[in-house]
Symmetry: C5
């Protein structure tokens, strides 16, 4: 057969070939979704914001508890890190799918939204930020209280939990340096959580969302980085059961620097970088209305 | 090349970019599905309700048995917890996909439905609740009886099962406190099972449904929380094979408080919270008719 | 901002929200598919039925062999059970996707079909049942013969296989009781295999089908329940390599009671229960024609 | 409420229920795809066939190397078998998705194509078969050479590789019997590889394709069956690094019988069986043109 | 019933059977996407290229760190290889989904684009290549600096990291041969990374993209091949914490040869081979505009 003929025929046939549709969001579309979500979340009535924030704190605490439970007694450090990471993923995945509102996600949504505005931050945004933070704390306390009250977990759980809280508080002995180490650690943690929210938004089905959540979350857990809401979960359970640390110590030498770090990490390393990088492609007006939900 | 030109061109090109469709349900749509399902389940003829409830009890019992079988002899506590959790997931996933009717799912569906109604609970709802509970018990007994009669499981299974039942009954020695501990444990268990139903409804394909079921179920199993139907599965098999506990003990010092806790957890922590949080977006009339199935 | 206004706006916006389409079959649709498949399988020319039955017997035997190979030397009983289960899943998944015809699937398809008919079972159905059974036997023998002839498997495989066959034949020493134990075990096995076919039909893509097959199959393997075709696989390989048991023993004290149990389990616990439970919703005339394939 | 009314209403409602679309190919459609692919592959210019065959040989060799690397030092035989299988899957999955041309896949495509033709095999088909085989050899040598030249792999890799080649050559000591054992082993291997191609074609998305490839490939690796291209991968790397065997020994006492077995397995047990079984449903003219790619 | 009638009927029914749509890209479509992406990336403003390159360097470094963390203390070599591979996948998957720009991906995109052009390489392409490389370096340094500053990782991490860097630098003692070994190792690494980009482009949803990324990445990590950006990640963290090597040594005896090898591997073994093999089918004008993003 003549080669030229084959090529001709092949070129012709190519026109029949379809381009299957993309089933994921491009980065610019993810940023648009963040903007829309930041706006719609802030506009919600306070009590709705509050209840969804409580749920997020609760689910992350369940994740923290599960993470301790499945790494219990695992001595090989790498496997321990991996299992702790997998355990934690469950909590975040539940948050992202159920519509619960997480401080560290909000740290990405709101700055992305604010970066689009010409004037300064409206008061309802700041109020939302505070409500969300308090809701997360209360959710963590609620689950901590229920779990301790249920008496269902073995003593090994609580001694392992103590090891976890000691890990998180080990910076106390480093003084001011330690305070800033936690802050830097918080920056990393929220960078990764922010990427989890980013990738989970890229996915258009549930399986993709869970997998997307897994990728960065598993890194931050294995690296023992400081995620304020996760720490709320560990410490609320630990305090209710009895802890060597005081609330004051936890608040000022862990939660405060971790939360500041989280704000910086989410705001600068996720919100700002992607907003800037895809500036020319972002146009929130083209986003389907329903995605603001 | 002129930068302004690039931006213009890029803005133009952006208009071609599609927004791939969402392939999961939003929370409000999940609540709408719960309402519709609660209504349609209650309206079914009694014998259909009953047979589907027997199947759910049976499948959860298969899950309980499998959970014991794959954790057999695993000494590292974390891995044991993880495997037991994975084992149990199989039972729930079969229930959710096959249309079988589970008491702890109903504890979420019915309150969600009831919260939409202006007047008090109609009698057919209460009847359905009872039928479902009894069906689950009978399904658990059926599988327990078949499994013991088949003589297929090794003696190690039954001694491990004894450890499980002892775990569930350890609260006996705590007296009244123990009774309430089980109740609280049941609240947590149904919160998580309810979230499994919630997330599984979010998923629109089978893989997503199984994965969604896994996330919360694996937590509640690892945490040894008290799920009434799972306990029916453990105890029915254990009783038929021979158990140190009496039916009375199991009934009054485990099943009753666990079931009450389950009702509270499902009704308040799932049905009420989400109904309230998404109140303004829930509108069961827009849900496609077929989803009531 | 005025709250009432927000609610109004929100109600309005909700109308834009889409309901992503369901990507799985409802139970009634699964039953309809069973009916249509039962009819179309029975109507096929005998030689096509036969060759597809040989393939099913072959694939299940490959699964049985793989199941032995990956559990080899695993001493923790739970992990052994899990691996054996995973191994077996491969065989079933190949059967369900390739269109091969398995006796234990037919035990669900045909009764479901028959339950729809007003008059008695036509002869071609009974003939199909026999052809399928014989085909499965021959497929198992074919793979057993090829594998032994290839000399590829290590001696450890064959000694482990002996342990498996002893497990399946241990009921010999129980006399008549043992015969009925196998029958009951066969009921459970086909209940679970039937559920595998049920769930695999619910799934609309390949990943879902594999996952759906996994859930119940992994339970029945871990529980050592008696699935006639799996036993054909174990014993055909074992006999060709050399076994302590005679064909007569295997036939009358294992295959016959297991097969009877399989028939009962598939016919009553899957076909009858679901046909009855979804009676009012089943209407085979609405099923897309192609699903009968 | 009146029961008859419910049934009426329910029948009515059923009409709204959709049948979600199938997202996998039926067996007959897979065979049609094989036919179209066999034709289009054969019609390609020789140099394109050649380069795609080199790639397939290369990717399978990467899979073989990875398979050795992740099973290194794993002493429990079952886990070793499982890991080796998983390792190998990577190579095949890359082949199937990248459009590379593998001898053992061609052993299924071409016979399926030929079985549709009324007259004898055209010369370009035989030429394609030879080109593909040589390309696979060269690809295996290329990767073997690069890997050895890179000096990246540890000495443990090469000693483990020696164990693998010894496993594949152990039949040498069985003389003529050994030669035929390899041939039979090759039949089994290509039956399973053929099924991998079969199932991967059933899947319509990438995840499904990878999973479908896994099912049969993992069996053939664990069973140590003789797949000619895999053996090219093992031996090319081994020869370049230094081997106890000569090229002659490998060629005549392994590659030749394995390849003959592969041809028989692919041609008869996959191509012929499915072509025959679905003869009445196969109609290549209805296949969408693009699937011939 | 008359056989001919059945066949007739069956042929008729077949016409109803649908061909479910393909949900993955054909190789030629992947190459077209590479061309379009290569063009659009090069046309981007410099600062956007730069920030996206910093992100890619950062994410790969997170992957490198995670890979060390989950393989920590795992003594079985195969399992260590597997876990290190899985760990690394997270970094690449985040890169591919987030739109970050990786040197080793660009090594495939740009040559593919250049191969389509009649005249020589325009200056903006070379500039982009340099910007991307520098951005990756800076991203690696940024994460390395943050992680060390956070003080979150245990001392075991840093001693394991030392082992990794020693592995990568062991070629120093081989002199010039060692330099070329690294180069060859870099060729292999970018061949595999290139295939990861290739397969990830084939997938149309997020789950498929992650899985597709996994297949080749896991091979290159297990094989300890030299990927310049991964090495940047290892060494940046190691240098900031304190390393036995000097920047000069790393630069000239690792990064330079690895990068040259990467360029060759990406350009020849992926870009050239596939461009050539699918030359007749590639037509960038038919690609949907949006895919250039």
């Amino acid at each position: 057969m003549d080669r030229r003929f084959i090529v001709e025929k092949s070129k012709k046939q190519n026109e029949d070939v379809k381009y299957p549709e993309r089933q994921f969001y491009f980065p610019a579309q993810i940023v648009e979704t963040f903007i829309a979500k930041g706006e719609s979340h802030s506009a919600r009535p306070l009590n709705r914001q509050f209840i969804l924030s409580i749920l997020a704190g609760a689910f992350v605490t369940f994740g923290a508890i599960f993470s301790v439970l499945i790494a219990l007694g695992v001595e090989t450090q790498g496997i321990h890190n991996l299992l702790a990471g997998i355990g934690f993923v469950t909590g975040y995945a539940i948050v992202f799918i159920s519509g619960a509102i997480l401080f560290t996600e909000v740290n990405v949504l709101l700055p992305t939204y604010i970066l689009q505005r010409k004037f300064w931050i409206p008061k309802n945004i700041l109020k939302f930020w505070v409500v969300c933070y308090l809701g997360n704390v209360i959710g963590a306390l609620l689950v901590g209280a229920l779990v301790v009250a249920s008496g269902s977990l073995p003593p090994e759980f609580y001694s392992e939990l103590t090891t976890y809280t000691e890990h998180k508080m080990k910076f106390l002995s480093n003084g001011t340096l330690g305070w800033f180490q936690i802050l830097v650690s918080g920056i990393i943690a929220n960078w990764l959580i922010g990427m989890a929210a980013f990738l989970a938004t890229a996915a258009r089905d549930l399986t993709g969302k869970v997998l997307a959540t897994t990728l960065p979350v598993i890194i931050f857990v294995a690296g023992n980085f400081q995620h304020s809401v996760a720490n709320m979960g560990y410490f609320s359970t630990s305090f209710i059961h009895g802890s060597e640390y005081s609330w004051i110590e936890f608040l000022f030498f862990n939660l405060v620097p971790a939360s500041i770090g989280n704000l910086i990490g989410g705001g600068i390393l996720v919100a700002l970088t992607f907003t800037y990088a895809f500036k020319e492609e972002i146009d929130v007006n083209r986003l389907p209305k329903e995605e603001a939900k």
